[in-house]
Amino acid sequence: MFEWLHPALVYLAGAFLLPFVPNGKARASLILLVPLIGLIPLLTMPYGETLQFTLFGETLTTFRLDRLSFVFSLIFSLAAFLSLLYAWHVRDTMQQVAALAYAGSAIGAALAGDLITLFVWWEGTAIASVFLIWARRTEGSYNTGMRYLIIQIASGVVLLAGAAIHYRETGSLAFDKLSLEGVGAWFILLSFGIKCAFPLLHNWLQDSYPAATVTGTVILSAFTTKLAVYALARGFAGTDFLIPIGAAMTLFPIFYAVIENDLRRVLTYSLNNQLGFMVVGIGVGSELAINGTAAHAFSHILYKALLFMSVGAVLYRTGTAKGSELGGLYKTMPWTMVFCVIGAASISAFPLFSGFISKSMILSAAAKDGHYITWLILLFASAGVFHHSGIKIPYFAFFAHDSGKRPAEAPWNMLLAMGLTAFLCIAIGVWPNALYSILPFDVKYNPYTSTHVITQFQLLFFSAIAFGTLMRTGIYPPELKSVNLDTDWTYRKMLPAVLGFVILFVSAVWSELARGATNSALAIRDTLAKFYGPEGRVAQVQPTGYMVLWLAILLGAALFVNLVGLP
């Protein structure tokens, strides 16, 4: 019945028609309808490839629905609805249009059955999302958005180049599992890697997300990186070297998150770290692991959105998201606090919360296939997550020392959005089978075995005890309050020294490189301008005789090669 209806087009049509609806409550409510309409074809269409058309003799598939793409497009639709509800009070046409176009592009990409269609939506997410950053309308956010846009567009260009080469090599544009034997697939992998914020390709993430508007960050956090996870899971499942990459991703952001004061930035680091789990799952590639990745992406989008929502609500009410300037807000924003704690519990993988039932799948899958070191790293990273997202975020925002701020509770639409998201987080944790049943593969998995639960509680309790002790004894100066929440106390002595050095070193090198790159870019620009600028030599209006000279030179050259007879 709805076979002609493509969910992404629903969003784009919404984005297009939106400006014609008078700005106000009517429009804000209409926006909420878009994700719901978009769900109709998703839920009613049978699995299969539809909406195909032909371009240069190649069949392009714009709507490929199977179990993997279903999970991702479903969660994208949910996230779109929740974040649009959260942004209900926003009356900025640019943000509304961008949010819809962005969500639509992400869903379109998840449903793309070939590389060209994927590319179109891939760039669509880049172009639409940058307006969420620019919507702050400050000089800083403009520059940040520009950097973000360049990187995202570059990722798309690399994807297109990869697709073209892949097409030459294999004669196929289908977006299925790609073999890394060809050059093209490596380009495609690189492009996915940029969007997935692989280590050293990740800086755009921490640069841009905290720079967006309050509601923009919530929307941004849901789509771009998870789209990359989907693309990796589709194209590169079981690629071994993704395991160490993923492991590194879970590890290094922790340390940055610890020393970061801006709570939204802490959350982006933790976002990066959560992506690491998913990448490990993709690298392991077993059915259980892919299920784990999909499930983790599903629950991660929800609880990460919840955390961004609660911190965003704080930012909205107080005007700051800096840990050092907040504290004691639980007195006047109790609901936001409760939702934040639920999000924190989910990301820390407390049993009965969503993070637990998905993350443990990835851990089990890694252990089952004998990746013990990876397993240990992931375990360590879990503890790290608990301390920087699970404790640090709610603690600094809502408890800690009283900042004296007495903001009002968040607006009702924010509370409603957070409430719904929190409900989903708990519901998934309590009834995991509903989520398990829509995962890509039929695998029986029970997260609530006694070993699992006990291991997880040990991890969490020791972290909590460490945190509590440190706070009580007042050993830790306020700005380093939560550095050491790792399971083993020996790290406490080694890590600060080693890490301090590493962090200093890395940031020094990085800023030097960045400065050098900027400087040389400026230098290149100026040099080019010297030649090509309006006053430059190449662009000058020369006397006619000068061109006649060129004509003579070219004629000479043509005659020369003609008559001499080069090989």
């Binding site: 240069f56 297109l160 073209a164 090509y532 209006v541 006619t544 004509l551 004629l555 043509a558 090669v561």
Partner: protein, 510 residues
């Protein structure tokens, strides 16, 4: 009647616009002149479609003028390649006219309007004639008709900016030198073969391809025509001519004149001479290909730094011509069809962009970027057209620009010239920069509050948006252009005047 039209369709496509030019002057009323020229171009456009439909499968039409059989008589020869170019020229000619009617009210003195229409029709006739004729010297004649009228058209921009005069003068001097080179080249091959009919030439030249006269003739023809094509660095007449001429003239020239000149090069390269001649391959590999690459980058860089939008588009045209020449230099079917497809797509895209800029000039009086700050709000349709046209210029998928770049890249891969393929992508990235600069000015800068700018009138918007929509349409339905281009390229690569069967027309009229 119909059978008469059908039998004489190649001739009528040229003669109708030719006759309308003096009629425009004789009536001396601009409304009448506009009506006459529109009807003439429309007839020519209809005949072009008819001809293309006739020859789309590779049939060749040979029209003997006055019933005199070639090689003595002059022959019009229509095959897929030039029928396709005829369609481009006549379609653009038809779309430009209603646009011109409004846009010249501001840019040209009222008592010069009939002169404008007359010159426009002469220019149109010349370009169509160059394309359709099968006689080498006739090419020169029509070329001069179109060139001389173009100089006048460019100079008509002098009401707004006196620099149009010097631009026209530059173009005149250089264009004449180019045409002279071309005619000297023709003289050389006439000397060697004793004939000027292209088919006849193609049969006689292989036997004497070692002759220095023949080789030097080729060099002169390619370089002389190269000037008209604006091969980098012979492009210096182009930015001035496109910038200072009236908007409608910029639209028409940018989308047709260089394309027709390029078609002449293609015709001489593959049909009169043959790609099998060693010296020809060498010329293209060592002279034209490097220049094409330099154009793709050099001209794009210049475009990045321009502050006059028309000038920026002009430099962008020089770089886009680089793509077409690159396609030719690959000397394979994909490359040549890539060049044809890009001709078609670039004509639409650049035509639309110049139209949109012309609309801005019409409303604000200036094509300088700093004066366009925030126009995205005030002229939403015009600005949106610039954005979509810009995307097509970059080669974003689902726009026409993507199709031609894709074909060109496939052609480069076909020859395993990987580096070239990457350079195509690389130079598209520079296009991103200059297109982005415009978008930034239009949408992200604050408008000047004191000046209220209205959206362009419908007579300017409608032709612009017709082109924009065709740009998108042919971006998604690429088979149309690729189909014709491939048939044309296959016939051309075979050499000579291949094709399935030759139908002779015009003989019974004696």
């Amino acid at each position: 009647m119909l059978s008469f039209v059908s039998a004489h369709s190649p001739l009528l496509a040229i003669v109708i616009p030719l006759i309308s030019a003096p009629l425009c002057m004789l009536f001396g009323n601009r409304t009448v002149a506009f009506t006459i020229s529109t009807l003439a171009v429309a007839a020519s456009f209809a005949l072009s479609i008819y001809l293309l439909w006739w020859v789309k499968d590779g049939t060749v039409l040979s029209y003997h003028i006055g019933g005199w059989a070639p090689p003595l008589g002059i022959e019009y020869r229509v095959d897929t390649a030039n029928a396709f170019v005829l369609l481009i020229v006549s379609a653009m000619g038809l779309l430009t006219l209603p646009y011109a009617r409004t846009s010249i009210t501001d840019e040209i003195d009222e008592n010069h309007h009939t002169l404008f229409y007359a010159c426009y029709m002469l220019c149109f006739t010349g370009l169509m004639g160059v394309t359709i004729t099968g006689d080498a010297f006739n090419v020169f004649v029509f070329l001069e008709i179109s060139s001389l009228s173009t100089y006048v058209l460019v100079a008509l921009g002098a009401k707004k900016d006196k620099r149009a005069l010097s631009a026209a003068y530059d173009y005149l001097v250089l264009g004449t030198i180019g045409a002279t080179f071309f005619v000297i080249g023709l003289g050389f091959i006439y000397m060697a073969t004793g004939t000027l009919n292209m088919v006849d030439l193609s049969q006689r030249l292989p036997a004497i391809s070692d002759s220095r006269t023949v080789r030097a003739g080729f060099a002169l023809i390619v370089i002389g025509m190269g000037l008209k094509v604006a091969v980098y660095p012979l492009h210096r007449w182009l930015p001035g001519a496109y910038t200072y001429s009236p908007s409608a003239v910029s639209v028409f020239l940018a989308s047709t004149a260089t394309k027709v000149a390029l078609y002449v090069i293609i015709r001489f390269m593959f049909s009169v001479y043959s790609a099998r001649f060693g010296f020809e391959a060498v010329t293209f590999q060592y002279v034209i290909l490097p220049l094409a690459l330099v154009a793709m980058f050099g001209a794009s860089f210049v475009a990045v730094y321009q502050i006059n939008l028309k000038r920026m588009l002009a430099y962008s045209s020089v770089s886009q011509i680089g793509y077409m020449l690159l396609g030719l230099s690959l000397l394979n079917v994909e490359g040549v069809s890539g060049a044809f497809v890009h001709m078609f797509n670039h004509a639409m895209t650049k035509g639309a962009l110049f139209m949109a800029v012309g609309a801005i000039v019409f409303r604000t009086g200036s094509a300088m970027l700093p004066n366009m700050a925030g126009l995205g709000k005030q002229m939403p349709w015009t600005s949106a057209a610039i954005v979509i046209g810009g995307l097509s210029l970059i080669g974003v998928p689902s726009s026409a620009g993507f199709v031609s770049k894709w074909v060109l890249m496939s052609a480069a891969f076909e020859r395993d010239w990987w580096l070239i393929a990457f350079l195509i992508v690389g130079s598209s990235l520079i296009a991103v920069v200059y297109v982005w600069r415009v978008i930034e000015v239009l949408y992200l800068q604050q408008p000047n509050k004191d000046v209220v700018v209205k959206e362009a009138p419908l007579s300017l918007l409608v032709p612009t948006w017709i082109l924009i929509i065709t740009t998108l349409w042919f971006g998604l339905h690429a088979d149309f252009a690729i189909g014709f281009a491939t048939t044309a390229a296959e016939n051309l690569i075979q050499g000579g005047f291949g094709g399935k069967e030759v139908i002779i027309l015009g003989v019974e009229s004696r």
